[in-house]
Symmetry: C2
């Protein structure tokens, strides 16, 4: 554990098949006006919406409906939500959905009463809120982002222009802001059964998002650090359970383990005492900005080209990854061979899950590849700081 840091995570998690029973008690801690934020109609079809509304009505709350949060929530939608919060003097934003919905709820929380321009203040200048914020609670229905127990809020601010001849140019930013504990959900309901109605494509994309969070925190630094041992444990659990869940999405034990792993993969514990990389997320965000593809799949499509590109810069850690996560036996092999074998194991697991292994399938092509590259934020951390040329090279290899 290196450097100096403060760990504080006050989110209260209610986990299990009966977790919703705690919602009534949680609601007692907040005022009477609750904005219910959610995405499309899926929670209406699977009964979760009705269960939540029943709990809100029983608690005597006034419900402000806030539907239509999209998978990559836009800044325009955030501003709509802010107006709704102000107009109704909302006391609690209850996000029901996946990470996108909770990311959105935090964005609205910090922006509704913001004294400046929220986009500039938070997602560009990365400042902290200096205004009152609105408490956020969550009912999680899809795993992956970890938003249920952290301050992360990824928002898309996109401009699309059509040139003569119909060419579509996407510019703008898809950017993350990490708020402090005051913006973490006050509580989150984690019922693994709620995640079982997510379609297979979104489910496995979420699994890879978790793996990417783990890898992006693992592949940085050279010091011996307890965090790396924790990450290896979470990776092993994820690999084991995801194989079961990909074959049988109704396996409660596997889905429960994955839900718990997802939360701890990105609730700030693993960033304590060591650096991170996060370049794969930056490339993934750029692909998402241009194509609106599912987040986890954007990460899957570029991870192998990226890690093979930086492997030699962090060889010790890649060899350790192979040994401790994939049980690669090092006997008589060079570190390079061991590390390559580890990445081959990762690739085999990704294929087994049915992940998107080529960004072309998500809509990246030679025509828009430079637009994607332009949108990539290059971070000076991890084992290697990429040049723009290297970003292009990795994107091209990902096609």
């Amino acid at each position: 554990m290196q450097g100096n840091f403060t760990y504080h995570n006050p989110t209260r998690l209610h986990f299990g098949e009966e977790a919703m029973r705690h919602l009534a008690d949680e609601l007692k801690n907040f005022g009477s006006v609750v904005m219910l934020s959610y995405g499309g109609g899926s929670i209406k079809r699977n009964g979760i919406y009705d269960a939540v509304v029943d709990a809100l009505r029983s608690a005597g709350k006034t419900v402000v409906d806030d539907a239509g949060v999209m998978p990559n929530p836009t800044y325009g939608k955030v501003l709509e939500g802010c107006a709704r919060v102000r107009d109704n003097h909302v006391d609690l934003i209850l996000a029901v959905g996946g990470g996108s919905t909770i990311d959105y709820a935090k964005a609205v929380s910090a922006s509704a009463w913001c004294d400046g321009d929220p986009w500039q203040k938070y997602w560009v200048a990365q400042q902290s809120p200096s205004c009152p914020t609105v408490p956020v609670g969550a009912v999680l229905t899809m795993v992956g982002t970890g938003s249920e127990m952290n301050g992360g809020s990824v928002i898309t601010n996109r401009q699309v222009t059509e040139r003569e001849g119909g060419e579509r140019i996407v510019t703008g930013l898809k950017r993350g802001k990490v708020f402090g504990p005051e913006l973490y959900p006050k509580f989150t309901i984690l019922n693994p059964r709620f995640t079982m109605t997510v379609p297979q494509y979104q489910m496995v994309a979420g699994f890879f998002d978790i793996m990417s969070h783990l890898m992006e925190q693992y592949f940085a630094g050279s010091a011996d650090c307890t965090t790396d041992y924790l990450i290896e444990g979470l990776m092993r659990s994820l690999v084991h359970s995801s194989r079961i869940a990909a074959r049988n999405p109704q396996d409660y034990e596997a889905r429960a383990n994955i839900m718990w792993t997802a939360t701890w993969a990105l609730n700030t514990l693993l960033k304590m005492g060591k650096g991170g990389d996060w370049e794969v997320h930056q490339i993934g965000h750029a692909i998402g900005l241009v194509t609106d593809a599912t987040h986890g799949m954007t990460l899957a499509s570029v991870s192998l080209p990226y890690y093979r590109h930086v492997m030699h810069d962090g060889l010790h850690q890649f060899a350790r990854f192979a040994r401790n996560v994939w049980d690669v036996r090092p006997d008589g092999k060079t570190d390079v061979q061991v590390a390559e074998e580890g990445l081959a194991c990762l690739e085999a697991w990704m294929n087994e899950l049915g992940l998107v292994m080529h960004s072309r399938e998500l809509g990246v092509n030679e025509a828009n590849l430079q637009q994607v590259a332009d949108a990539v934020l290059i971070l000076p951390v991890g084992y290697r700081t990429l040049t723009r040329d290297e970003v292009v090279q990795i994107l091209r290899e990902s096609l």
Copy 2:
């Protein structure tokens, strides 16, 4: 992850060589009267006492001195502390020391304004506080118990009677109470350098206390559970770093990793979604009651006899322990052989640290063995519920 549970851990941890700089900010959150609870003179010799008192004075606090917390804090000392809290209307109890001191501070916090008999209410009937409690903060100087980020409070209530002929009979109870998040330290200062002045004997005893917390949560249940993978990671980190620290206690990296591991080994994360065992701690508490021996050494002296006794009841997990923590290769071996090899690795590591491997060295003998056995609380959890005869057998094997 099995069953339904709530995870909530609001303690704010400040970690690193500069962690004390946060004390001034933390003190702003509390009233003006601070009771400073600590043990003997060691914190006066190593400068920690002066640093804390300086911070308190700079913050304008009135300091109530509360020295003399013993390694196994007694209920009598708790009652003294309660009177001091009431007499001075204390606003914050600042515990500076190891787990014993923090355990004591929580006991005083819950008992000072208690409307009933605290011993009966908390340590016997295991009830929750129904009275106002006093906030607790901590500066940790010795690792092991995890008390810095949980609600645990182990207190000794001992009666010693001398029979004719000088025979000394120790009866009474050494019992743990686990309070809820309202009794967790509000903040803890974790500076690994503060742990470096602890004598080698206490240092390695603390290391084994950590290992015992990990094992007692690991050796229970048969379901696949993410928690077990986390525990394996923490065990691997502990084994690695403790070997370095035992040879060179001044190795900051090792001591820092161990400090972090200790906190996460017993801050409630690892008990989520699975059962535990805790019989080794019960036997250790009984030895401590009768002999006043160092807690971690009481655990060390009985662990191997205990685990060898219950190994066949949880064979799958013991074989997994061997493979995943000690890298025992299972090829061509039976599960029993693999499991036994794992426990042999544990034994070798314990010898390497210089732990007390025989309870006789702590003062247990044939004369007081029945007194110890009488004081053991037998828990109906873990892989096997012991009979009293089995407790005696294990104690005898531990001699």
